[in-house]
Every structure is written in structure tokens, then in C-alpha cells.
Symmetry: none
Subunit: 404 residues, 2 copies
């Protein structure tokens, strides 16, 4: 569904909104008694807020589509994840907390193994360990710092992955992947996908970077090659201030989520991946912002680990943080998730996420528990997650009437 | 809602999906006890699948819009029926099982009655009987076989309707209807709606065909004229294999449904309009396809006949076929309809249709019966029917994550 331009309706009444994301909290009915993790958890605070508020289900990207963390959060921030797509290189930078400048071009690198004729024998270099990979990246960073006036920056990621950032003026990101997506052939030539001078220059620099890198890596036993993917600049999107009139802050202990929040103009507050301290961080800066995005990671982690019980405990911990948030007296408090991570699937999934919205002006529905099944009968219905932001603005009294 | 291009997310894991369509199964609460036909029917198998699966309601085309069989099915196949519109001529061909070639141009013909001055006195020739109409069509087919190097094919339809197909290279379908939509005036001149050479040639051929036809029909008492509508080529759409990565098969005993399925690239399996034999046909070819569309017609027929009891019986018969489908161990089994056909209305209607989806990865909801009222509270919510296909793909494990 296309998004509506809300700017003509915005009114700043000084109200405050909290978006509390329990990452991956949605599950499937896989528990010992056929229940979800949320159904199994004791969540007296969320249940009370559900009873006094209004609930529903949110779908992030498209029916049946499993959202990555980037798209999942963009939807909650009111940005259609299909329209606002982040290039892989830029997303990778976000993931490791690398602050891209607007003129930077970033790419994701995969270490690979080449045979003596230069053909790829393993596209992931035997999934070398993160430690080992970091050391190889260090070697590259020490020896390749600049090419043709362009600064070359290297950053380790997990296992066989790394980040390459080219910093300089006049660079373009229309460079093709060099990963042939199969073994037995050499890496692809570096090619431009557009005719711009900027891309041509970047392609030339990338060629030289990779050529020098292959020399540096020649004596490595497994990580003796590199494949580059997803050349991209940092997206230049309108901020939440511009689109929704909100001065927004993020409290997220994991770089990825801070990074996505910063792409829509949120400012970063201290965060610890400890929910009490994270809430305190928001409280410390309560007067400075209109909108607070708090990220709780452990629910997703337990889901990815396939640990039903750990996910239940994480949910209960997140629930315990709600009274401290209520004490801040936000005008709107919403609790939801960026996607489901059923522990039975050990991965993100497409299943809609439950949402509760608490505000003075809600029309209370019949939902009296915060879980996926109860929320399916809620007054908010089942909607795209990008509808949450306009609803939060409305309940915060920040949207004027449309038409007379 | 616009449709998302799912191709970048497709992954072929060898899983299998069954779409079992109970044509027109939705009703209104018009039974002796204020119940729908589905509520009145004993459906132990569908009820069990509903209890163990996830349910909802689907809307085919647009809220309040009553779908014809073509659009109703296209939605279920994942094709937005507003975007993928079938020209009337091509639809008519589909309805009588006429296999159009890509270069053919088809039109729907209505026999009409003309007075001695050539003005229309009855636009449907007194709704002459199907038998009588077939005989007149036979006469036309015997006498008009070719015009200007273009093969002219005739096919009877129901009552006053017939199908005209022009077969030859270089034909265009931009020809206007000749039906003035009122009586007291002559049929309209044959006009082109575009400037292409192809359409100009076709218009010339149509003029000659109609002129000769009027001579052939001159001594008929009622069917002494013809009105042509909806000139159209067979649509050239991406197949389900291209859009969804599915090798798909149709088991449908009625030409219309086979025809629509073939427009999206399904292959035709033997079908009998007898549910047990139709299920056996799918079973016989189980290893050859990823997706099976099974069509059950009798529910719609009973609805059109206004026979509440017959529709209840048809539903119970369809329900009886479910265990045999379950035995095939599909990864996803969905039961739904292309539209509602309430027996109280004796026609298709706009009311949303119930849907159930059974798969290992469903989040079970609170629905424990397969009927329109219970499904309204289901976890799938109320959605456009074109969302069913991405959801089926997801539950079959055929969609990768979007974004990181």
C-alpha cells in the first residue's frame, strides 16, 4: 500500500511516543502445550497494557515475506520497506556500526579460496573463523590504504565476511558484483552498470584495490581471494523529523539497529543491551526528544538459538521493563516486533507480529492478553507495519484533520 | 495493494502446494436457522484442518466487487485481477475450451434481431436456445471459412452467444465493439481504436466477415444479425513458473477453469468433475509438479440454482475428499473459493470467501470450524486473495528473507 504524505497534517503538541521493539518476539504455536513463546510467558504488564489499550497484528514487508532486520525496523519507523531499500554494502556498514559519509561507497566482501589457476574452489573460504578473518582484514588494512586519491577502509564482519569502504569525492555505486555465485570459475571482472564518470572512476579504483588485495592474500591458505557484492552509497532519505515532525532518538545496544535508526535521522543515546539501563538512558534524555525507539535484542537471540524457554524468559525480562517506561508518562507507548523469530524455526519468519498501543485516546478492544492469537482479534486488525507510525502520531494528537 | 516482485526471493526446496477450490462456496446467513451453507454442512475434515491450521477471509478483486470466474481464480493464483485483465473475446474462448494461438484475435458474438431497415429490435435474438444457436453457428462455419487469407473459426456458446476467432499472422485486436448497447439503431460500423497496420487489417477482415454473415443469416427469423464485442488476443502473461518458481498443474472438469489456469502456465491433467477421480488424477502425477490446483464445481452450481440443501450436500462431498489429499502429504494444503455464490442470491457475490491453510509452520489461531463466520476471527485476517499465493509459498519454505 502506498504511503500518504502526512506533512500537511502535522502539528507539534509536545507529546511523546515510545516504540519498544521486542526483536523477533512473534512465534508459532510450537510450545509443549501448542502455545507460542508469548503465550507461555508471564507478562502481567503487557497484558494490562493490552487490556487498557488497543491491539492488532502487523506485517512488515509483504504477506509471506520474511523481513531482515533492516526492512523490519523501517516498517515500524513508518518507511515502506519496499520503497526504502538499503543497498547491501550500506546495510553491512550499518551492521558493524560503521558511519558512512554521504559520498562513501561501501561493499560487502566475502573471503574465498582460489586454486592455482585463479578459479574459486570455496566461495566462503571454508567459513573461516571471525578471529582469523579479522587478522586477514588487519593485514589488508595495513597494506592498502589509498588508491588513486581514494581512501580505502576495511572492517571485519563475521566469519568470512568483511566490509570495504571507498572514501573520496566523485565516487559512484553502479559497480557490479564480482561474485559469480558458483565455483570452478574465477571471480568476475569489475564492471560498471551505468555510464557515469563517477562509477567508471570507482570501478577503476575497485579493480586496483582487488588486484593489490589478491597479492596481499596470495600466501593465505584459505582466504586467498575476495568477492565483492552490493556496492552502495548510504541512502539519502527524508528523516523522521521531515516526514513526521518528530525529533527521534534510538536506544539500541546492537550496531545494526542503531544504524538503521540513524538512516532515518534518529540520534543515538547510550545503550547497553541491558533493558533497565537502556530504559534509564531514555529517561535521562526524556526532555530532549519526541520519539524514543528502544530495542530489546534477547528475544530474537533466543529464537535464533531455537531455545523456547530462553525466549520465554527474555520476554518476561522485557515485560518487567514496562513499568519504568510508563513512569515516564509517554502519550503513546507501543510494544511490538520487527518480525517473528519462532524458536521452532531458529530464524526470522513471515508471521505477523503482535502490537499493542497504549494511549489516553484509544478505543479499547476485547483483547486482554498480549500474544499473537489474542491480538488477531484486536481493534487494530491486521495491517502493514508502516501503518503503526501514523496511528501513533494520531493517538499522540499530532495529526490534524484532513479536509474540512 | 500493489504486488511485490517475489522472484529475487524464490528458492526451490521441492515442496508441494495444493490449492483446493470449492467454487462459490461462500454464502450468506440465509439458512433455516440463519446459517450459511458452510455452517449447515457437516465438514469434519475441513474443521479439523481449520483447527490445526490458520484461517481467514479473502476478497478477490476489490471490496464490494463481485468476481467473475476468471478474476476470482486469477486472484487465488497470485495475479492481481485488476492488473491482469482478460479481454472478453479471449475469456469467451477460455470458457468453451477453445485453445487460442498467440496470434489469434477472438471476439464474443451475440445474435440479434434486425428489422427490415437493419435496425436492432432485440439485442439477444429473443435469447434463442443453445441448440438453435449452435445450428446457426454451424451454418456460418460452413459458409465463411476464410477472408483475405485469414482463417475464420466459429464456435457456439450458450443461448444467443457465439465465439469468433480470426487466425492468421499480423492481426491486431484494437477493434471496437459493434454493439450499440440499445435497440432502434443499426449495429455500429467496424472501427479501429489504434493506428496500427495490424488492427486496420483486422477491421477490414471483420467488416467482410460480418457482411457475409448478414447475408447467410438473412433468412433467419430471429438470429438474423450479429453484434461483435471484446476483440482480444490471448494475454501474454508471465507464468507461475516465472513468477513463483512453481511447476503447476490444473485438475478441473470444466473448460473455463482449465482455460484460466492455462493462461498462467498450468499444465492440464485429466479431470472428470467427480471429486474422487479428480483427486486420483492429481495423485497419479504427484511427482511431476510443485503446485496442484483442484477445482470443485458443484458448490457453485447449487448456489446458482438457489438450492441451499444441494449446496450443503456438495460441500459435504468436497469435504470427504480431503483425507485423500492429505495422504499425498502436501507441504501446504489450502481450501478456499474463487468467490461466494449464496444460494439465496442465485448468483456470484462480493462477499469474502473463507480460507484455510494447513502446513507444519502455521501459527495456529483460535478458529475451530471452517465457515465464513469462524474464519472472520482467524489469524490470516481479511485480505486480498492475491496474498494467498505468497503466504502459501512462505509456508512451503519457498521464500528467502528480504534484506539482511
Amino acid at each position: 500500500m502506498a504511503s500518504m504524505d502526512l506533512r500537511p497534517l502535522l502539528q507539534d503538541n509536545g507529546s511523546k511516543i515510545i516504540l519498544f521493539v521486542w526483536d523477533g518476539v512473534g512465534g508459532i504455536t510450537s510450545g509443549p502445550n501448542g502455545e507460542t513463546e508469548l503465550q507461555a510467558a508471564r507478562t502481567p504488564n503487557a497484558d494490562r497494557l493490552a487490556r487498557e489499550g488497543i491491539c492488532g497484528l502487523l506485517e512488515s514487508v509483504y504477506p509471506g515475506v520474511t523481513p531482515g532486520s533492516g526492512p523490519g525496523h523501517l516498517g515500524l519507523f513508518g518507511y515502506d520497506p519496499i520503497e526504502y531499500e538499503i543497498g547491501r554494502g550500506a546495510l553491512e556498514a550499518t551492521g558493524v556500526g560503521f558511519d558512512l559519509e554521504p559520498s562513501d561507497v561501501a561493499a560487502r566482501l566475502n573471503f574465498c579460496t582460489l586454486d592455482t589457476r585463479g578459479n574459486i574452489t570455496d566461495r566462503r573460504a571454508g567459513r573461516i573463523s571471525t578471529d582469523k578473518s579479522a587478522k586477514v582484514v588487519e593485514k589488508l588494512a595495513a597494506q592498502i590504504k589509498e588508491v588513486d586519491g581514494v581512501e580505502v577502509l576495511w572492517s571485519p564482519v563475521k566469519e568470512h565476511r568483511a566490509l570495504l569502504v571507498l572514501r573520496g569525492e566523485g565516487l559512484g555505486d553502479g559497480v557490479e558484483d564480482t561474485d559469480p555465485q558458483r565455483t570452478g570459475v574465477p571471480p568476475l571482472e569489475v564492471r560498471a552498470t551505468d555510464d557515469s564518470e563517477e562509477t567508471a572512476r570507482t570501478a577503476k579504483v575497485v579493480r586496483e584495490v582487488l588486484s593489490r588485495a589478491f597479492e596481499v592474500l596470495a600466501d593465505e591458505d584459505r582466504a586467498n581471494g575476495l568477492l565483492a557484492r552490493g556496492f552502495a552509497k548510504k541512502p539519502n532519505w527524508p528523516s523522521m523529523a521531515e516526514r513526521f515532525g518528530l525529533k527521534a532518538a534510538v536506544v539500541a545496544g546492537t550496531p545494526m539497529y542503531r544504524g538503521v535508526a540513524k538512516l532515518v535521522g534518529m540520534e543515538e543515546l547510550p545503550a547497553f543491551n541491558e533493558v533497565e539501563r537502556d530504559v534509564a538512558s531514555a529517561a535521562d534524555h526524556w526532555d530532549e526528544y519526541d520519539f524514543f525507539f528502544l530495542h530489546y535484542k534477547h528475544t530474537d537471540k533466543a529464537g535464533e538459538d531455537g531455545d523456547f524457554e530462553a525466549k520465554v524468559k527474555a520476554i518476561e525480562e522485557a515485560d518487567g521493563a514496562l513499568p519504568a517506561l510508563e513512569k515516564l508518562r509517554p502519550d503513546v507507548l507501543t510494544v511490538t516486533a520487527d518480525h517473528s523469530t519462532p524458536s521452532a524455526m531458529k530464524s526470522h519468519s513471515w508471521h505477523p507480529v503482535p502490537v499493542l498501543l497504549s494511549a489516553r485516546t484509544v478505543r479499547r478492544d476485547a483483547v486482554d492478553r498480549f500474544d499473537e492469537i489474542a491480538c488477531a482479534g484486536g481493534g487494530l486488525g491486521l495491517r502493514p507495519s508502516m501503518h503503526l507510525m501514523p496511528l501513533a502520531l494520531a493517538h499522540a494528537g499530532r495529526l490534524a484533520k484532513f479536509g474540512a
